[in-house]
């Protein structure tokens, strides 16, 4: 059985993402240990909480360096929602926070339309609707898909980040997650 290490940064709904991964046949380990996070074949950086608290937690355990090191060494990480945003350089959230800086890009507060953005939006060019729940969004030269003009997928090297929640996007989301992790 393949193992996925879900990065624990002290907040958020890690239960849903782990339940989905288990249904897909992965064994999951919740960990904030740099050793686990560096060694894992696949890491999921999940996405609920606030950027400042998340970064403080990652720094306090040394997980931030482990995540940077695995990126440099070509090891796969999937970032979901806040997990995607943390991989970029900085965010406007919580009065401005410096984030992991794996990829160039910034995170800004959404101001257009209803915020937070809640619900299903088509991801282009995939043409499939996924579930989004966020008040901040990313801008990065590594954006490869968008949803109503907002970055939905940002990827570079061994990092793959999605603004939507595949674990909350029904059967389509589960299939996407399965193929994303099996390709890793």
């Amino acid at each position: 059985m393949s193992t996925v290490v879900v990065c624990d940064y002290g907040a958020g709904n890690t239960r849903s993402v782990r339940a989905t991964l288990r249904r897909l046949g992965f064994e999951t380990v919740l960990s904030s240990s740099p050793n686990d996070l560096y060694r894992a074949e696949r890491v999921v950086l999940p996405g609920v909480g606030s950027a400042r608290t998340a970064m403080e937690h990652l720094r306090s355990t040394g997980a931030d360096d482990a995540l940077r090191q695995r990126f440099e060494d070509g090891r796969f990480t999937l970032g979901i929602c806040l997990g995607l945003q943390l991989a970029l350089e900085s965010t406007e959230e919580d009065g401005g926070v410096e984030t992991l800086g794996l990829l160039s890009g910034q995170v800004y507060r959404l101001t257009e339309g209803r915020v937070p953005r809640l619900g299903w939006t088509t991801v282009d060019p995939w043409g499939v609707a996924f579930y989004f729940a966020h008040g901040f969004a990313a801008t990065s030269p590594f954006t490869t898909a968008t949803a109503d003009g907002v970055a939905a997928v940002i990827e570079s090297g061994p990092f793959f980040g999605v603004q939507f929640h595949p674990e909350k996007s029904g059967p389509v989301g589960e299939r996407w997650l399965a193929s994303c992790l099996s390709l890793a």
């Binding site: 849903s16 339940a19 809640l118």
Partner: protein
């Protein structure tokens, strides 16, 4: 493109989904996990669970229900009823719910909204408003306050709420349609999304609500029968409202 959301609401007590004309006459309609997955398979965009038990024991049961639901469904769900503190919200969210819905506790202590939002993000905090004659009501819609509905919605949004769940007490259970004017008035005053609730009698009513707001809650119209939910979804699309494309999972 973004799609309006259709959200079945399930009332839960003693670990079971119930339905009742009044709180004195509750009928058991099924297991929350089974109903949740059936609605999910039928194309629900989200689910709301309302804990209608008033006891501590009931709340313990609810945490267990949340954990069991989170194991099997893969769409977002909100849990409301009895959330009175950050600790209550944490127990619900850490058990696997995506969002909590606050009602009277937020009126008593608006700072609660901000505290939960600071920990889990605004998208995790729904403020439920029971509206009657322009004012907010508490105690299941029985007791009027002197708080204006629009004023409270604005205050809740400013305090960090991520969504308003707006129920018209007058329309609730009447099956004559949502209070569209109230819904539009509240939505126009704030920048966060609004879920319309109360009054759905048929698909056209739901379609009307989805033309003026972001999401609609459906409760008695589906009779807690997921097969009726599929029909409802089709009929709403027939009425011209574009719901998210969804590949149907066969009924179990």
């Amino acid at each position: 493109m973004s799609f309006p959301r259709l959200i079945p609401c399930l009332d839960v007590t003693g670990g079971r989904v119930v339905k009742g004309i009044s709180f004195q006459q509750l009928r058991d309609v099924g297991d929350p996990v089974e109903l949740a997955s059936a609605y999910s398979d039928g194309g629900a965009d989200e689910l709301v669970f309302l804990d209608i038990s008033a006891t501590l024991e009931g709340r313990e049961n609810m945490v267990d229900v949340v954990a069991r639901v989170a194991e099997v469904i893969n769409i977002p769900f909100t849990v409301g009823g009895g959330v009175r503190s950050v600790e209550d919200a944490a127990r619900i969210i850490d058990s696997g719910a995506d969002r909590v819905s606050l009602n009277s506790a937020a009126i008593d202590r608006p700072v609660l909204i901000d505290k939960i939002a600071a920990r889990y993000g605004s998208q995790a905090v729904v403020v439920a408003i029971d509206a009657g004659d322009g004012v907010v009501h508490t105690h299941g819609g029985q007791r009027p306050t002197n708080l204006g509905v629009v004023d409270w919605a604005v205050m809740a949004a400013n305090s960090g709420a991520g969504e308003i769940l707006l129920t018209s007490i007058r329309q609730d259970g009447q099956r004559t349609g949502y209070d569209l004017e109230l819904t539009a008035n509240v939505r126009n005053a704030i920048a966060i999304p609004v879920i319309a609730s109360g009054g759905a009698g048929n698909a056209e009513h739901v379609a009307q609500a989805l033309r003026v707001t972001d999401a609609a809650l459906v409760a008695s119209i589906v009779h807690d029968d997921p097969s009726k939910f599929r029909e409802l979804r089709h009929a709403i699309k027939e009425a011209g409202v574009v719901l998210r494309p969804y590949e149907e999972v066969p009924s179990r």
